[in-house]
C-alpha cells in the first residue's frame, strides 16, 4: 500500500516537473481559458440584462460557461497527460519498473486536478472581473469546485486510459468524455448557480451529488487501472 502511494506521488511529481519545464499550462492551457472568456463576451452581449435588471445575462449564465470551459480544458490536459507517456513508450517502462497501474492513474489524476484547479482560479477571477459575477457563498462554491475538479480529473484520466495507445485517441477521447461528464456538468452548473446567487432550491442536493461523483470517479480509475493499462 505504501509503495502504491509513494509511486503515485513520484509519478505526480514527475508530471509536475514536466509541466514546469514545458510550460504548457502557463502558455497554452490558461490562455485557452482566457480566450474562452473573451469568446463568451463576444457571443453574448455583456450589456444585455436579465429581465428585472439585477444582473447581466452573461453573469447569469457564467456558471455554465465556466464549467464548459473547464470540461474542454479537461480534454486538453488529460490528453496531454497520456501523450507524455506514449510518445516514447514510457507507459511500458512504468510497468517494467514494477509500478502498479493504479499508481499511474492516481498520480495522473492528481496532476490533472491541479492543472484544472489553476485554470478554474484564472477563469473564475476573469468571470468576476469581466462578467460582473459575484459570490454569495464562497465556502459552498469551494466545495462545488473541489468536488467537480476531482470528479472531472478522475473520469478524464480513466476514460483517456481506455483509449491510451490507440492512434485515434485524440478524436475518440472527446466522444467518450463529453457525454459521460454531462451529468457532472449539469450538477456543477446548478450547484455553482446556487453558491453564486442563491438561485434554485436544489443547490445542496446537487452539491452532494457532486461529492458522490468525485468519490466515484476518483476511485474508479484507481480500481480499474490494472484492467486498463496492463499488457498494452
Amino acid at each position: 500500500m505504501n509503495r502504491l502511494v509513494a509511486d503515485a506521488w513520484r509519478i505526480a511529481r514527475k508530471d509536475l516537473a514536466i509541466e514546469r519545464s514545458s510550460r504548457v499550462v502557463g502558455s497554452q492551457i490558461l490562455p485557452f481559458g482566457i480566450v474562452m472568456l473573451l469568446l463568451f463576451a463576444f457571443g453574448v452581449d455583456p450589456e444585455l440584462q436579465v429581465r428585472g435588471g439585477e444582473r447581466s445575462i452573461l453573469a447569469e449564465i457564467a456558471p455554465g460557461l465556466f464549467w464548459i470551459t473547464v470540461l474542454l480544458a479537461l480534454l486538453l490536459v488529460s490528453g496531454r497527460s497520456f501523450a507524455v507517456e506514449s510518445d516514447d513508450g514510457s507507459l511500458d517502462a512504468l510497468l517494467v519498473s514494477g509500478v502498479h497501474p493504479g499508481s499511474i492513474l492516481a498520480g495522473k489524476t492528481l496532476v490533472v486536478a491541479i492543472q484544472l484547479a489553476l485554470l478554474e482560479v484564472v477563469v473564475g477571477a476573469g468571470s468576476m472581473l469581466l462578467f460582473g459575477v459575484r459570490v454569495d457563498d464562497p465556502l459552498h462554491l469551494l466545495v462545488v469546485m473541489l468536488s467537480t475538479t476531482v470528479a472531472l480529473a478522475g473520469a478524464g484520466t480513466l476514460l483517456l486510459a481506455v483509449v491510451a495507445g490507440y492512434s485515434g485517441r485524440d478524436t475518440l477521447g472527446p466522444l467518450l468524455v463529453l457525454p459521460s461528464m454531462a451529468p457532472v456538468l449539469i450538477g456543477a452548473t446548478a450547484a455553482s448557480g446556487a453558491a453564486l446567487y442563491g438561485t434554485g432550491s436544489d443547490g445542496a442536493a446537487w452539491t452532494w451529488a457532486l461529492v458522490a461523483f468525485a468519490l466515484l470517479y476518483g476511485a474508479a480509475g484507481i480500481v480499474s487501472a490494472g484492467a486498463l493499462l496492463e499488457d498494452v
Binding site: V162, L175, L176, P179, A227
Partner: protein
Amino acid sequence: MTTVEMPPARSVPEHTGSRLTRALGGAVLVTWTLWLLWGLVLSPADVVQHESVRLFYLHVPMAIMSSVTFSITLIGSIMVLRNGSVFWDLMAGVAAEIGVMFLGLVIATGAVWGKPTWGTYWEWDPRLTTAALMFLVYLGYLVIRRLDMDPVVRARRAAVFGIVAFINVPLTRFSVQIWNSLHQETTISLTDTQMDGAQLTSYALGMLAMATFLAWLLVHRFRVAWLEHAMDESGLEKLIRDRRAEGAANEPGGVR
C-alpha cells in the same frame, strides 16, 4: 495457396436458428399479434392523451428492455474483468448493440408522442436529456469494441467502460424524480394505477412482446458474434502455421 480449407462441417452451422429460437420466434409472433390487437384495436383512446397513448405500449416496454440489455452489458463486463470470459465479452457487446437500437427507437417514439402532447418534438426535460446522453455514451462503448487493438486488451477496456457507462441507467431511470419536471410521472406503480383494464392489458402485452423480441434478437445476434469469434480463432491457427512457414522458407537450409 488459393484453396480455402473448410473446417469440419458440423462445427459450422448454416444459420443461427435452432429449436429454441424457433420457439422464441413463434412466441414473438403470437405476443406481437395480441399486443397489436389490444394496443391498436381493443383498448380505448386515453381521455387526456387520446390516440397517442398507444405509443406508450411500445415506448415504455422498449425503454425498460433497453435498461435490461445495458444491465446484461454490466454483468458481462464484470465477468470479463473477473475471469476474461469470451462468452461474456461477446454477450456484453451484443446486448449493448440491441440496447442502443432499442434506446434509439425509444427516443424516436418519444419525439413522435411529444409533438401532439407537448406541441414539440424535443423538450429539454431531464428524462429526454439523460436518455440522449445514455445513447451517446453507449454509442461510445460500441466504438471502443470496434477499435483496432489486441482483442484481450480491448475486451478489458470495453469492460471498464461498460461498467462506468452503467451509471447512466439509474440516472435516466430516476432523472424525473431527481429533477421532477414536466415529463410524465412514472405511470405504473404497484400500489396505484391510472390505467384501465384494456390499457393495462395492452401495456402488459407490450412488455411481453418486447421481452420475447429481445430474447430472440439476443440469441441470434450472440450466435453470429460467437461464429465470428470461432472464425477468428480458427483463422489464428492458420495464421500461426503461415507464420512458421515464413520462417522455414527463410532458413538457409531451405524448406524442411
